[in-house]
Amino acid sequence: MLPPETASAAVNYPAPRPRHLQADAIFKGLTVIGAIIVPVIMAGIVWELLAGSLPALQKFGVRFFFTEAWNPVTQNFGAASSIYGTIVSTAIAMMLAVPMSLVIALFLVELAPPWLSKVVGTMIELLAAIPSIIYGMWGLFIFAPFMSKYVQPFLGDTLGFLPLFQGPPLGIGMLTAGIILAFMILPFITAICRDVFALVPPVMKESGYGIGATTWEVTYKVTIPYGAVGVLGAVFLGLGRALGETMAVTFVIGNTHRISASFFAPGNSIASCLANEFAEATEPTYVSSLIALGLVLFVFTFVVQVVSQMLLRRMYRSWSLKI
């Protein structure tokens, strides 16, 4: 019990000090500024890409996206070879990385004992920590010679009847770039797939095992369908990474503005073209064409990002309700 004097003092105590409120308002204002900066930067990026690419797009029109020509001397530019290279190298990477990530996640969640799962999981995650340029160094000096000496002659001998695997084994080229990209996005897809697999309610898996299903059958028919949205989200996340990956690709893709049927042939991607040429470009049309390439890359990654965000958010939301 409070003594009566104190109680009356509490009643007379002045209402919250204005200064105190002011400090809170200022603090909140500052945090809002800190948060608003992020969308402002996004808007700035969009505005700059649009404004910067306008001259090139006005000059070349829709043709810009479909012509292979890339000639700084005659000031004639087309994005087709870069867009093609980006899509092909990413497709190779996805075809390798998605199944590999799924089975590694399966290993981590279902097969390995917890201690091993932790060690292997950490090592796979460390693949994501290695900077892009280190993949580039390794790719150019170690992996490309390995490809040209062992992998490409082998593919040429066995699958050489396909135009995809014809041509001299140079080492550098689309295939090498795609394989290195696959290793780079592997940890991202694996990490999410592992979470998805681990989050599937044990009851679901146990009922599968209960009727005599094998580990693979439970994974294929219970776990993956249950977590399909999440797995798809992971795939899109990896796709976004692969599309914009710059330095590793620049080292090994060969950097020629040409579309070739063979995966062995050198080519280029949007990101590698920007990395190689942007700092040296001086003529306005050249710079503008490069920024237009950047705009294409931005649109690609933006769409992929948005899809993956939506999928992953939907998964986590529906699961937090179910679990």
């Binding site: 909140k28 796979i124 693979w216 700092a279 931005f298 933006f302």
Partner: protein, 281 residues
Amino acid sequence: MIPRPYTGRRITNLLVNVISVTAAVMGILILIWITYMVIYRGLAAINLDFFTKLPTPPMMPGGGLANAILGTLVMTVLATLIAVPIGLLGGICLGEFGQQSRVAEVCRFAANVLIGMPSIIIGIFVYGLLVITMGNFSGWAGAVALAIIMLPVVARTTEDMLRMVPDPLRESALAMGAPRWKVTLSIVFRAAKSGIITGVLLGVARVSGETAPLLFTALNSPYMISSLSQPTPNLTVTIFNYAMSPYEDWQQLAWGASLLITVSVLALTLLARFTFGEQKR
């Protein structure tokens, strides 16, 4: 329904198990292969000169990358100084004040997209924002580009960590009469400390290996840094330039620089995991 024979199903299962172990082993082998090669080729380039001398023209022995090491350090520290305060504030806004609001929703979305944006696009943005307006490539532009990459990482981790702090902690502090800013900064932040430090460390790790955003912001230079308004030497662009050169000794230096970058990035990453330990999930 006729059941499929158990033997066949077991063989399929075994096959998948073998494939999945092989895939995991392959992932680990790649990690070991890369780190081994970087250490093996890099150690040959590391000596006292590497840290103390300036680069020499090709075929002249005795060069080092003192300027690039310093440049990378300065730009990374600057980027951290820019990105961390703003990122923390942004994270507080998202995590403490506007969990549901429309504005917070937009900011969160933008941060997520910015995290996945190719860093070379950020390079183009800063090129237009600072390099064109200031008239030349500069260390400031490089630092700002790195800061923009770091900012959403710090903001989003801060938000996630703040959300993990239980509400009763805030309520009891508010009930004691502490103003909101004090509750956030001295109560909630203390509870979320290790997570936020992890976020910052991961952000630093990510930008210290970045090359693409520096290519046309900081550019590179063979001289000592005299001012940040000049093209600024840095390790990653040096690796790129030297690796693409036909000179053996320059390529050797590039391996040395690769080793330095890999070791620092991996150390930061492991340190971040160590700080956060088991709290992650």
